[in-house]
């Protein structure tokens, strides 16, 4: 009797802790039924989206470990990656060498931006997320200044990616030279589902890196800083430096992630591609059951699958269900923002409850000591 009650309670907490993923499984299931897609079509799309987005989402993990929340400043890395891609398109370097070169170009830019972003976030402890969010907007302004006004006038660029007026990059840059070059490097097709094996290998490599990194001295330090900054400082950890490094790593990875993302898309929307990346990646991670202070690789893959399943089927389901595709599109945008809101609220409430419990325990202990 007691056992069943206990397991009932356990099931309850399991449901509560995994509310978001469960909700998405339900929404996705309904969506699949009403969208009318075949299993193969959905599998194909999920494979593409998994290979396209996972790298970007993984780049969010390390700042979470360091207790800095969701790094909305990952758009900085995305912009650095895009600058790399603009240059290789200008120089006409194609295929894998082009991608590698773009990554090499993006790295110093990412490091510089990440270092600056980390510096700013150290000045805004306790409100890192909103600050990193505004940093994204701010650097977007600088990015536009560079790409729209300085490229072609100050930075030498000559090819047809320039606007007719002679400076500034066009709204869309065709990345035909590197389009799907990584995805199709090792072609594999199982039961009608094509699997971009090389991309997945790269993602697997990154996962191994993340797991290894957690065990290093630096990784342990980051966790300590994430737990309690003051305690970490007393233990001799350089708190500020550690936080800056976590943001730099995240920014650099986001830059690589963006290059992988865009080689799959095949076109670069010069002034839009990076804008939504932070939001989509954060939403995917949260859908996978992560919270603002706890996330792992399992959350990434589960999240990308569930979130993008909803994203893919919603417009079609909306069209078949109510006769309006637009409705499904608005619905998926609403769900993305809604899920981030929900996860943030749940995190803050839990934090408040925990600090209250901690205070009560302290009071108890003091009473006993007397």
């Amino acid at each position: 009797m007691k056992g069943s009650l206990l397991s009932g309670k356990k099931a309850g907490t399991f449901l509560l802790n995994n509310m978001v993923p469960i909700m998405f499984i339900v929404i996705g299931g309904i969506g699949i039924v009403f969208s009318g897609f075949s299993g193969t079509a959905i599998m194909n799309e999920m494979m593409t989206r998994l290979s396209r987005n996972s790298f970007l989402v993984i780049s969010l993990l390390i700042p979470i470990m360091a207790g800095m929340g969701l790094n909305f400043g990952m758009t900085l890395g995305a912009m650095a990656g895009q600058i790399g891609l603009i240059f290789i398109t200008e120089w006409g370097i194609v295929g894998i060498p082009g991608m590698v070169l773009a990554a090499i170009i993006s790295t110093p830019i990412s490091i510089l931006l990440g270092w600056w972003c980390g510096k700013i976030l150290n000045l805004a402890k306790g409100r890192e997320m909103v600050t990193s969010y505004i940093i994204g907007f701010f650097v977007n302004g600088i990015y536009q200044l560079v790409v729209l006004f300085m490229m072609g006038s100050v930075i030498p660029i000559k090819s047809e990616i320039l606007l007719p007026r002679g400076y500034g990059i066009r709204n869309t840059v065709n990345l035909i030279g590197i389009r799907k070059c990584l995805d199709n490097l090792i072609p594999l097709k199982i039961a009608g589902v094509s699997i971009p094996l090389a991309t997945f290998l790269l993602i697997a490599l990154l996962c191994v890196f993340i797991l290894w990194f957690k065990k290093t001295k630096l990784g342990q330090d980051m966790r300590a800083v994430g737990q309690d900054m003051e305690v970490a400082r007393e233990a001799g950890i350089k708190v500020e430096e550690t936080r800056i490094i976590s943001i730099i790593i995240s920014t650099v990875l986001a830059g690589y992630g963006m290059i992988i993302y865009l080689q799959n898309m095949g076109t670069l929307n010069t002034y839009n591609s990076h804008n939504q990346i932070g939001m989509f990646s954060a939403a995917a991670l949260l859908v996978g059951g992560a919270s603002v202070d706890k996330a792992n690789i399992r959350n990434v893959f589960l999240g990308v699958i569930l979130f993008h399943l909803m994203f893919y089927v919603a417009p079609y389901a909306g069209k078949n269900l109510i006769g309006e595709a637009q409705l499904g599109e608005y619905f998926r945008v609403f769900v993305s923002y809604g899920v981030i809101t929900l996860a943030l609220v749940m995190y803050e409430m839990r934090k408040k409850r925990e600090s209250k419990e901690k205070g009560e325990m302290l009071a108890e202990a003091q009473k006993e000591a007397k």
């Binding site: 409100r127 909103v130 505004i134 302004g141 945008v333 609403f334 809604g338 981030i340 803050e348 408040k352």
Partner: protein
């Protein structure tokens, strides 16, 4: 000897002034002054520019004013302003749907806005009380979620006024709806003064003055001072018997309602109601305007609102025209993005004085 002391005290005063005013603010004010000085070189009429700034002041000032109550009660910058804007959109569209025209439609719109603003603001306030310390990030996403939810609603709600719904389907609201025949220029044309190129939208300015006065008076009532106390020291406020949560909720309701009324004042001058993703990024200009005016994350006053809106709208109006006429490129958008977000960053990284 005496002279030296006097000199150093003057120096100190200047330094104190700069410190309290803040470098970014000084740079922005200087930049605006420069724009006004070079404008005649590009053949731009100063008077027309001033008229533009005044018109935009009338359009945006109430949304900036909406920031004040929440800053006072310690809820921080209201990035969730789109929620208030939505209550204003509901007010405007419902008033038109019910068939009111002219001045009456504006009054009815305000009344409906107050109703929805109170409702939404209350729920939003209760939510923010549960997440003390993390308000700003959550406010941002509450705003976004509300805007995207209303996108669905604008399509589904049974509006039927032919001037508002899509012509070929007969359902679903259009993305932009003209306010012509309803409350177009209802405030701007009221007692309008026109001297040559200078136009002063007296009605819109008076409308703002009315709400600014109400806010000023409110902050001097007992509830108003309690609100400031909650913001500067919640523990002390609680000890002196103030209901912290209720005061915070009240401030959120005020902010939301003002946001709604603010968008109505915006629409009457602009001439269109912008639905769907229209309100999405509207919080950021209001937030940076009040910060440019000298407010911080936990301190704001009516003069901050007035100075901030004038400076911000001044830059928004002047940069495109001056840049275009002088160097034939339109960098104004980029400058606006960098200046306004830079200002928000500056404010977020200041140490809050009372904590």
């Amino acid at each position: 000897m005496k002279k030296e002391i006097a000199q150093s005290s003057v120096k100190e005063k200047i330094k104190g002034f700069i410190d309290s005013f803040g470098w970014p603010r000084l740079i922005i004010a200087g930049f605006l002054l420069l724009l006004f000085l070079v404008a005649p070189l590009g053949g731009i009429s100063i008077l027309t520019s001033i008229s533009d700034v005044l018109m935009r002041f009338g359009m945006n000032s109430i949304m900036v004013l909406a920031m004040v109550p929440m800053i006072h009660s310690g809820c921080g910058l209201n990035f969730g302003l789109p929620l208030g804007i939505i209550s204003g959109l509901l007010g405007g569209t419902l008033s038109m749907q019910f068939g009111f025209t002219g001045g009456v439609s504006f009054l009815v719109a305000i009344l409906i806005t107050i109703f929805f603003g109170t409702l939404f603001g209350w729920a939003y306030g209760v939510l923010l009380n549960k997440v003390k310390g993390g308000e700003m990030m959550i406010a941002t996403y509450v705003g976004y979620a509300a805007v995207s939810f209303m996108c669905i609603m604008w399509l589904l709600l049974p509006y039927s006024n032919p001037q508002m719904v899509w012509g070929y389907k007969g359902t679903g609201l259009r993305t932009t709806i003209s306010t012509e025949g309803y409350y177009l220029h209802i405030l701007s044309d009221f007692l309008k003064i026109k001297i040559g190129n200078l136009e002063i939208p007296t009605g819109a300015l008076l409308f703002f003055a009315f709400f600014a006065f109400l806010m000023w008076a409110f902050l001097h009532t007992k509830t108003g001072t309690a609100m400031t106390a909650v913001g500067s020291n919640p523990t002390f406020a609680k000890a002196s018997g103030i209901n912290v949560d209720r005061t915070r909720t009240l401030s959120v309701i005020m902010s939301t309602v003002l946001g709604g009324i603010g968008i109505l004042a915006y629409q009457q001058a602009f001439g269109f109601i912008q639905l769907y993703m229209g309100p999405f990024y509207m919080a950021l200009p209001a937030v940076s305007a009040i910060l440019i005016g000298g407010a911080s994350v936990n301190k704001a006053s009516i003069p901050n609102v007035i100075i901030g809106t004038l400076l911000f709208q001044g830059i928004v109006t002047m940069t495109p025209s001056v840049m275009n006429s002088l160097i034939h490129t339109d960098m104004s958008e980029v400058i606006r993005i960098i200046a306004s977000n830079g200002m928000i960053l500056y404010a977020l990284t200041r140490k809050s004085e009372a904590k």
